[in-house]
Subunit: 199 residues, 2 copies
DNA sequence: GGATTTTTGTACCGAACCGAATAATAATAA
DNA sequence: TTATTATTATTCGGTTCGGTACAAAAATCC
């Protein structure tokens, strides 16, 4: 138990609040989300939001970070599982699909790849955060393909970096299609086809 | 020469104006674009904009339509060219890359897949327009693979619908990566890898 | 040349927006 | 109890937003 700090205690849990903020941005995008909307979603009022996380853009960037951390965790899980390539890819996509179809306001797609692009041309920081996430996905999948090559699951002269970016492309597309309303069966079919074809 | 209409003549070319409006939405997205911005870009004033195209959302939907029409044209060109599958795919991707990297405010990505997703969860019409475009791409590529199968370029029991959606996924990803700032060489490498692998 | 029609340009409206300033509140420290 | 500190709650200011009302302008029709 940590000692209580000096002043009035916080009425919110910063981690939960940021998660709620992320979900709000996820649904409506950066420009489509108002501070009032964030306040309503988090149960905080605007001054508290500002004190806790900074201005609207800072909250959005922190939300992107939180989401990226979840992504990293999922990627770690896949890499540590040591499944054969095909199974690992299908598990990877399945995790994405489950996430993209979650939420009770309809399918959400990927928070980053479905909301950040709209801002990427007018905001350099958001563009950079988007780019960083894309390369993280590529790097993770590259490790997956490198392991598969070591195990002899793909040909010795296969281009693991190229294959990884192809596999990443499929995730991007699944995210987009989910947000456009494509039902789960279609998304799973793409995942299956990708796991079979990209090798 | 068509007869002149009755009242004061228009000071703008509706087609050019819509193109400029589309470019404005392309850069900043739907919510990120103001009517003042559209007026500045088109050279029209807000009342004229409203009279010509309707409210802000109508202008955006018409812009999506205009873009989709360009896409259809490109797809027709590829299908009519009767190139071998690999060449056709590379030409298809090259057209996308050229478009996605055009514009003097930095790389733009795909207008539809980079700006519509942000609105798709809160606006059913935009969601539907996005979905319609995605299926159009799938259908076009499906025809391409069907022709390749008829020519014996891919195996007789290949799943042309599945392959088409994989090939479409690569286009979505190239669009996203372009908007995130990935240089042309990287995009072209993905295109090459896809044309080689997805068959 | 006057009436009519269509578009343009200016100005305005209420609403929503972001951020900050200020006051009230609830805890600890002395 | 009193002072201090950190947070909450209310309010406000200035700006921007989307959309419209209204008058001026520019063409054709009679």
């Amino acid at each position: 138990m940590t000692k209580n700090p000096r002043g009035r205690p916080r009425a919110y849990d910063p981690e939960k609040a940021l998660t709620r903020a992320m979900e709000t941005f996820w649904a409506a995008g950066f420009t489509g989300t108002s501070l009032d909307g964030l306040a309503a979603a988090t149960g905080m009022n605007r001054p508290s939001l500002y004190a806790a996380f900074g201005d609207k853009k800072a909250i959005y960037l922190k939300s992107l970070d939180l989401y990226a951390e979840h992504l990293r965790e999922a990627m770690r899980g896949i890499l540590l599982s040591d499944m054969p390539l095909g199974e690992a890819l299908e598990a990877f996509y399945r995790g994405g699909i489950d996430l993209y179809l979650s939420g009770d306001e309809g399918p959400r797609g990927c928070f980053i790849s479905c909301t950040a692009p709209a801002e990427a041309m007018v905001d350099e920081d958001i563009r950079a955060a988007l780019g960083a996430t894309l390369t993280e996905i590529d790097r993770g999948l590259e490790r997956l393909y490198a392991k598969a090559k070591k195990r002899g699951e793909i040909s010795e002269d296969a281009d693991e970096a190229g294959l990884a970016r192809l596999a990443g492309a499929v995730l991007h597309s699944i995210a987009l299609r989910a947000r456009a309303g494509e039902p789960r069966a279609g998304l799973e079919a793409i995942a299956r086809q990708a796991a079979k074809t990209i090798r």
